[in-house]
């Protein structure tokens, strides 16, 4: 896929992509550098090389392969900067406070174009809808209980503050910085002391806070309210506590209300960023636990492109960052290697996996070469117990008396139910007693019906076998991928042994690590090729696909054999470590080459629309052929 394959969208729904790029571009100079230092366990060179080119347009990771997508990974602070630029832009155009601009943008789902249009049309309405400004007071009966005036859903309590509303709202557009919220230490309205309407506290030391709507409450109640919103509801849009009041608290207000509670403040900031990321189809939050990075992938924004590409991205971070003791945990789980090996640095680097995920769907792994829709179909099929039912259907019958499920695994047709002792004929399911003298052969069954029943059963069985063929291979590679942790540990051991028993240096035994990594990667690809193969429609294309698959599989198994079985062999030919190294390196290169071919060919096939499915897939034509039995 070429870089000019930009997802263009005419609705003006999202950002102009150029602006977006600029936003991220301007601030990357220092940020990316420091980020690189923080993650210095990242020993893999090329993939996350954030060297800055002068020309911003050239993506940091140049897209050379047709099965890769262009993407940029962003830290939370970078996303915050991008948000800030949007805010500053809007704030400049409208001449409003940045805090107001923030609320406006959040309300409009960060859709700047639409916001500007609407704002130019009717600024007051937009300000009211976004919770920045109090609406013009609706003339109401000024009753003491708000519950009495049910008429307008947005109607608020008619309070004495209503006369001040227009005055307050006009101050929001002024440049007065502190206008967004006020502190009223003592109100002079009715009494000398302030009574919080939430907790009914009236101690003189109480600090009353209110938003532009002038509904005050004490700081303690605001704190409890904000924390409950953030913790329990995961909400960053925190409105005034008064019933029916739609005024939203600006960020500075939340910051002051949360006081020094660092955890909730961090959470609040994260929620704000998540809201921004979620409203922009070109961005996706890293799904790995504890990770706060974001990936920007403009070429995969939009459902329609997902039928032609598989947007696998990586957020640039590694490992599970939630615990600070990460570094200590990993070696302990591989005690064999950490104790004696001189390569502890590689231990951590091997197991601090990259955060690889799919930009287009919720699958948190590299499901190339198969596209999202088909991958999801396959996952669903594997999760469903429909296949279990299928098996039961094709292999068992029910006792016609007690309905127990019975599998006939041999013997004659004279069945005796273990449970209820009912004797019946397996062929006609009738009671055995009626068979009279025709022992062991059932002639009571309608010939035609018998043939049909057998056909149905064998069709069902064939479909099941087909599924199992693909599933077993898929599961096999999945299992091998899981076992690769063991293989890593074993390889570590071998690598350190090799340094002792042979003249190879640390740098020279790295070929083992490279081989294991290549192996794992290719198994992942192979695994998903079986999901793809199951759904591919018959034809020459499928045969070519299966040829590629076979070549890759052979290469993978050869390399695995050499790595896992090679230990014994290696002992024998200690003097010949050099030869082994050569063979493994060769095979690694070959495996990578086959993997490349597999991915490249399928990716090009998707772009050319070459693949046909045997089931209905979103974005593709309905299958023409009928492969009876394929569900």
């Amino acid at each position: 896929m070429s870089s000019d394959y930009e997802f263009s969208d005419n609705e003006g729904e999202y950002y102009d992509s150029d602006e977006m790029m600029d936003d991220y571009q301007n601030d990357d100079d220092e940020e990316m550098e420091t980020y690189e230092y923080n993650n210095n366990n990242n020993t893999n060179d090329n993939d996350y090389d954030y060297t800055n080119d002068d020309d911003f347009r050239i993506p940091t990771k140049s897209k050379s392969k047709s099965y890769q997508v262009e993407y940029t990974s962003l830290t939370q602070s970078l996303v915050e900067k991008a948000m800030k630029e949007e805010v500053d832009h809007v704030s400049g155009i409208f001449g409003v406070e940045p805090s107001t601009a923030t609320l406006l943008l959040r309300h409009s789902g960060w859709n700047k174009e639409r916001l500007i249009d609407k704002y130019m049309e009717n600024p007051t309405q937009v300000l009211v809808e976004s919770g920045c400004q109090v609406p013009e007071p609706i003339p109401s009966s000024s009753s003491s209980h708000s519950v009495d005036d049910k008429s307008g859903s947005g109607s608020r309590r008619a309070t004495r503050s209503s006369s001040k509303l227009s005055l307050l709202s006009s101050s929001i557009t002024s440049s007065n910085r502190s206008s967004s919220h006020k502190k009223i230490s003592s109100t002079s309205d009715s009494s000398t002391t302030f009574t919080c309407p939430i907790c009914y506290d009236d101690s003189p030391s109480l600090t009353a806070l209110s938003l532009t709507c002038a509904h005050s409450a004490c700081s303690g109640c605001w704190n409890a309210y904000a924390i409950s919103k953030i913790r329990d509801e995961g909400e960053h849009c925190i409105r005034c506590m008064t019933e029916g009041c739609a005024i939203v608290a600006p960020d500075e207000f939340i910051h002051s209300v949360l006081r020094d509670d660092g955890k909730d403040l961090i959470r609040f900031q994260e929620l704000v960023v998540r809201g921004f990321v979620a409203s922009n189809p070109k961005l996706k939050f890293c799904p790995y636990p504890g990770c706060t990075n974001t990936v920007s992938c403009p070429s995969a924004a939009g459902k329609s492109v997902l039928s032609t590409l598989v947007p696998i991205v990586s957020c640039g971070a590694r490992g599970i960052t939630s615990s600070a003791s990460n570094q200590n945990q990993n070696p302990s789980s591989f005690s064999t290697s950490s104790a004696l090996s001189t390569t502890t640095t590689t231990t951590t680097s091997l197991h601090n996996k990259e955060h690889i995920f799919c930009f287009g769907c919720p699958i948190e792994s590299d499901h190339r070469p198969v596209i999202c829709a088909v991958a999801r179909l396959w996952m669903k099929k594997c999760e469903d117990d429909s296949e279990t039912a299928n098996w039961i259907k094709s292999n068992t019958k029910e006792c016609s008396q007690c309905q127990s499920t019975i599998e006939k695994n041999g013997g004659c047709n004279h069945m005796t139910c273990k449970k209820c002792r009912y004797e019946f004929c397996w062929v006609c399911m009738g009671p055995w007693s009626e068979h009279g003298t025709a022992w062991y052969s059932c002639n009571r069954y309608d010939e035609k019906g018998g043939v049909e029943a057998r056909d149905a059963q064998s069709r069902s069985r064939a479909s099941l076998e087909r599924y199992l063929h693909y599933y077993n291979r898929w599961a096999n590679h999945e299992q091998s991928t899981k076992l690769s942790l063991d293989l890593y540990a074993k390889t570590e051991k071998k690598m350190s042994d090799m340094q002792i028993t042979s003249s190879l240096t640390w740098i020279e035994v790295q070929f083992m690590k490279k081989a294991v990594e290549a192996l794992e990667k290719c198994r992942e690809t192979l695994k998903w090729t079986y999901a793809m193969g199951y759904y591919l429609g018959r034809g020459n294309e499928k045969e070519l696909f299966e040829d590629n698959q076979r070549d890759l599989e052979r290469a993978v198994e050869d390399l695995a054999e050499l790595l896992e079985g090679g230990g014994v062999e290696m002992e024998k030919e200690k003097e010949n470590v050099g030869g082994l190294r050569q063979r493994i390196t060769d095979k690694t290169v070959y495996v990578q080459k086959r993997n490349e071919i597999m991915l490249e060919d399928t990716a090009i096939g998707f772009q050319d629309g070459r693949w046909k499915w045997n089931v209905g897939v979103d974005g593709f034509e309905e299958p023409i052929e009928d492969f009876g039995g394929v569900v």
């Binding site: 708000s146 519950v147 939430i198 907790c199 409450a217 303690g220 109640c221 409890a224 309210y225 019933e243």
Partner: protein, 155 residues
């Protein structure tokens, strides 16, 4: 220090004792700060004339930040009013008890709202329970706050 919840409830109770309840609403029991009971009658010309219902409030520690659990009592000969927003197990589908709850509302305010909800009930509605009554009552949690209502009416 007493929690916000008990401080607030003691103030509300004091106000009720000083100023009394609105017409038709009577405090039956408020011995602690976890469960209060009220009787509620609809005054004037209405479909629930001469009927008295019992309303139960349950408060958690987060009150008034979180809403109270409010329902009609349906035991000991008590019935829930037949109303399109009241289930036969006493649960009430009212948005102010859920997503439109505001900490500024009080126990009395909720009572008054529910009273006016009953008062505004039209003639042709009195024979109805909510349409999904049977299904809901069968599976309803004990605490109405655990139900996620979809508010489709005015209340």
């Amino acid at each position: 220090m007493a929690s916000i919840s008990s401080r607030r409830l003691s103030k509300e109770l004091m106000e009720i004792k000083n100023d009394g309840c609105p017409v038709g609403i009577n405090l039956v029991n408020a011995d602690d700060f976890s469960t209060w009971l009220f009787t509620i009658e609809v005054m004037g010309d209405s479909l629930y004339q001469n009927e008295q219902f019992t309303l139960q409030f349950r408060f958690d520690q987060q009150y008034p930040i979180s809403s109270p659990a409010v329902q009609f009592v349906v035991t000991e000969g008590r019935q829930a009013p037949v109303h399109p927003h009241v289930y036969s197990n006493g649960h009430i589908c009212a948005s102010i008890l859920g997503n439109e709850w505001s900490p500024v509302l009080s126990v009395i305010a909720v009572c008054v709202t529910l009273q006016s909800m009953l008062a505004s009930c039209k003639v042709n509605q009195t024979t109805y329970r909510p349409i999904d009554n049977d299904r809901y009552v069968k599976h309803a949690p004990e605490n109405p706050k655990k139900t996620r209502f979809h508010y489709d009416g005015e209340f």
